[in-house]
Structure formats: C-alpha cells, structure tokens
C-alpha cells in the first residue's frame, strides 16, 4: 500500500546527511566532552560547531544557545527559569490560550508557586492582538510568552510587534518557536525576543535535541543543577550525537529554507483549495499568515479520529490536533479558543507537508479525502444537522 506521511508537525525523519554526521559520535568519537584528553576535546569541538550552526539558523550568537533535550523541557526552562530569576521584580506572567501544554502547564505550576498568570484570548484566526498584550501588562509583569506559530492551526503570531511592546516596558519575552524554526525564517534580532525555544526534530534533526536561545545578559535559574555543562545552566553529560545532529540539521535548514518553503507551499495551497470544495469543511487558523506546509480543518458532522483511521487505512498518516487532547477525549482548547463550538471541534484534522511530499501524494489525497468524508457522513447521526448535541450556539441547525 502507498504510504503518505502528512504529519510533519508531529515529527520528521532524520535527514540522511544528519544521520551521517551523527554516527561517528556513537562510535569512535564517544568521549565525554568534559574530558581533557584529545577525544574529549574533539567531542567538545563538535558541540561548539553545532552551537554555531544552531545559532546561525536563528541569527543568534553561539553563546546564546543552550542545548536541551526537547521543546517541552526548553519551554519549562524558559518559563520557570525566568519567573524564578525575576520574582523580586514582580510575580505576573502572561501567556496565550493557544500555547503548547509545556507552556500552559508550566504557567499553571507557577500559579501554584504564587505567581499570577494571565491567559490571553486570541481572535478567530488564532492571533494574539499586541494591543491586548499591552493592556494585560501590569507593574508586576516579568515575562510574556506567546507561541510563534501554532502547530495545531498553523497561525503565525505577530511576535515582533509583541516583543517591541515588552522591550519598551523592560519585560522579558519568550516565544515557543518549535513549530516555526526550519519552516519559516526565524531571526531573533528582527523578532526582538529574549528567549526562544527550538527543537531539532522539526527540521529533520534527531529527537532528543533542542535548544533555548537566551539573549546575552538575561539571567535564568537552571532547571537541572549538576555539572558545568552548558555554562552551568543545564547540567548533565551532553547527548553529543543528538547535538551534532541538531547542528547539521540547522546548517541544512538554513541552506535549504527557501527551497523547502517553495516546495510545500503550492502543494499545501492545492490541498486546501480542494478540501474547501467539500461542503461544511472549514479551514482553521489564518488563511495567509500560516506555516507554509500546514493545512488544518474542521469537518462538520464527523469525528477527527474516525477520519484519521480511515485515512490511515488508505495509507495517509495525519493528526487530529494536539495529541493529548485527542487521547483524553477532550475538545482541543486551541479550537475552542478561536470560537469553534465543541461539537465541530471534534471534527478536527491537521495535515502537514514536508520535503518528501510529492505532487502525486496530494493528488491521491485529494481523491481519497472527499470519499472518506462522504462515507463517514452517511453513517453519522448528525449528518442532517446538530440536533441532539445540546449546543445552544450551533448555527448549523438554524
């Protein structure tokens, strides 16, 4: 059976050049980077080379990159580390309602530690209005963390405008750029943020490698204490092969970024325009201000999980939104935040394209997707409307 991977926002395969770069660090170059003999020095140099490449990808200085193990760890580090380092100045943190769980749950943790957190609303496209950020700022505010691009609805936030406000007010700004780095141009100088999270597996690097960009001069409390790795800010013997892989992936992402965008964008546009020809299929997120390989929809009267199963039966692998909300049988908070009613949010599907996606894949998808929707609607109890859902706000039945 034909297999088409359309879940690039979940993760990506490791690029062959990345794997080649990593392999020697599992084998002959296995030494601990802290060791003072020659093999240790070589491992240390490999890390510094990876640091330079990772920094170059986002236009940062190498010393502003702290390697970590995942986007989730990095977001925890950013929120807790900045909050604890600045709690003498104030105890108020601002995030949006469409953050990843690693930001939202870190914010909830901070609330339990005595911090106040404001969860900002978004508009129907999922955009955080910079004016709303400005209004939410108080004398107590120490950190604003707004996601750069949503993995669930693809919307790219006005991060630079938000950071301009926070900079003027002397407030630290962080952005979770896991979904955007490697997919669009991300430049920490033009974004003007103080901290930024990025993860290697989003741009064909290995899992288990991520980084925090921390603007020079910004104080942070470590999440992990121990040795002197990463300048004492993130202890633990370095995962050298993964870090080397991240560096190589960053080098390739910088080199190929425009090529990758030019490849996925027309395919994505074709997918979207075809899907929207189907009755009661709606695009979620912003139509233009969105990640180039990202297409997300809600399909009325049927469930996302059912669509995914039938798509998988046809060899098409996609997602229904955030993994945890689908497993917990709960409507996606991101979709609810953009005003989608709970029953319609159940019909969420997300397709994300990558380097390996071909024109033929999209043609096959365009043929299969409408068939699956028709088949599921035939057996759906709501195929003629939403009666019985108890949702007072539903417009479909009016």
């Amino acid at each position: 059976m034909k297999e088409i991977y359309m879940d690039h926002v979940a993760t990506n395969p490791v690029h062959p050049e990345v794997l080649d770069a990593m392999l020697p660090y599992f084998k002959e170059h296995f030494a601990n980077p802290l060791s003072i003999y020659e093999p240790g020095i070589r491992a240390r140099e490999a890390i510094e080379n990876a640091r330079a490449n990772t920094a170059a990808l986002i236009n940062a200085k190498p010393k502003e990159i702290i390697f970590t193990s995942s986007g989730a760890e990095t977001n925890n580090f950013a929120l807790k580390g900045i909050a604890f380092a600045n709690q003498n100045k104030g105890k108020h943190v601002i995030v949006s309602r469409i953050e990843h769980h690693s930001v939202l749950n870190s914010a909830r943790f901070l609330e339990k530690q005595g911090f106040a957190v404001t969860y900002l609303p978004v508009d129907k496209h999922g955009i955080v209005d910079p004016a709303v950020v400005e209004k939410a700022i108080t004398k107590e505010t120490i950190l604003v963390s707004i996601i750069h691009a949503s993995p669930e609805i693809g919307t790219i936030e006005p991060t630079a405008e938000i950071a301009k406000i926070t900079r003027q007010k002397g407030i630290i700004s962080h952005t979770d750029a896991v979904a955007s780095v490697g997919n669009i141009l991300v430049d920490v100088q033009s974004l003007n943020v103080d901290l930024l999270t990025l993860a290697a597996h989003q741009f064909y690097g290995p899992k288990g490698a991520a980084a925090l960009y921390l603007r020079e001069g910004t104080r942070i409390v470590p999440l992990i204490y121990g040795g002197i790795q990463e300048g004492g800010r993130r202890a633990g013997t370095e995962n050298v092969p993964a870090i080397v892989g991240m560096g190589k992936a960053a080098e390739l992402a910088k080199r190929d970024l425009q090529k990758r965008i030019n490849h996925v964008r027309p395919l994505r546009d074709k997918l979207i325009s075809n899907a929207l020809k189907i009755e009661k299929v709606f695009l979620t997120g912003h139509s233009e201000q969105r990640l180039p390989g990202h297409a997300s929809f809600v399909v009325a009267y049927i469930e996302g999980e059912a669509m995914l199963l039938l798509l998988a039966g046809k060899g098409i692998y996609a997602a229904s939104g955030s993994a945890c909300s689908s497993k917990a049988l709960k409507a996606s908070p991101v979709l609810l935040s953009i005003g989608i009613p709970a029953h319609l949010a159940q019909g969420s599907v997300v397709f994300t394209l990558g380097e390996g996606t071909t024109e033929k894949d999209i043609e096959y998808f365009n043929e299969v997707f409408p068939q699956i929707i028709s088949r599921l609607r035939e057996i759906s109890p709501y195929s003629k409307g939403w009666e019985g859902t108890g949702d007072q706000t539903c417009t479909a039945k009016k």
């Binding site: 769980h101 129907k124 979620t284 917990a328 009613p341 709970a342 706000t393």
Partner: protein, 108 residues
C-alpha cells in the same frame, strides 16, 4: 475561502457547567475500592488516569482520585456525564481534592 467564523467565546467546559454539571462537595471521605494519587500531575493526566483506572474496576466499585489540578473540577464531573458513570462528589483537603467516581457501566 471557507474559514471558520468564530461564533462564541464560552469554552466547552463553561457551557457544560451551565447546562449539566453539579459540583458536589463532601464533608467526609467515601470508602473507595481503589485510590489513585496523581497530585502534581497536570492536564490531561486526570482524564487519562480515570479512563485507565475505571477499566480496571468492576461495575459498582468506587474510584478515588487525589489531585491538586483545578481543571479537574470541571473535567471529572463532565467525564462522568459523557461516559455515563456516577460522580459521587469532591472532598477538598488542605492541599488537594479527592474525587469519588462510581463505575456504572463498562467503558466503550
């Protein structure tokens, strides 16, 4: 282009709270057949845990869930309504909640 035009601002939970859910606070604990401690765990661990633990129980048995996650106040009663199980009440202690849920039917 068919972009979804947002039509409301309430969350699913707030609508359900208005419509269905009654929070029942208890004065003393209920004797449970199984107790699960997920204190310090955050969303959605309470929902995944209840799903898993209820599968292990027999119909008629009671599960106690110990959590300090505030979102559980909305989610656990709602989960009981959605799945047709019995929500017996919440005991609030100094640093956590204890939710009591009675298994009324096998989960689908």
């Amino acid at each position: 282009m068919a972009i979804f035009e947002g039509i409301r601002t309430e969350t699913e939970a707030s609508v359900n709270l208005q419509n269905n859910i009654q929070l029942k606070f208890l004065d003393k604990p209920i004797k449970a057949d199984t107790t699960t401690d997920i204190i310090y765990m955050m969303c959605p661990m309470h929902l995944l845990t209840i799903q898993q633990k209820m599968q292990e129980l027999k119909v008629g048995q009671i599960l106690a869930i110990l959590t300090d996650y505030d979102g559980a106040l909305e989610d656990i009663p709602e989960w009981c309504i959605k799945t047709g199980n019995g929500f017996l009440g919440i005991l609030e202690t100094a640093d956590h909640y204890e939710f009591y849920v009675k298994k009324l039917k096998e989960l689908q």
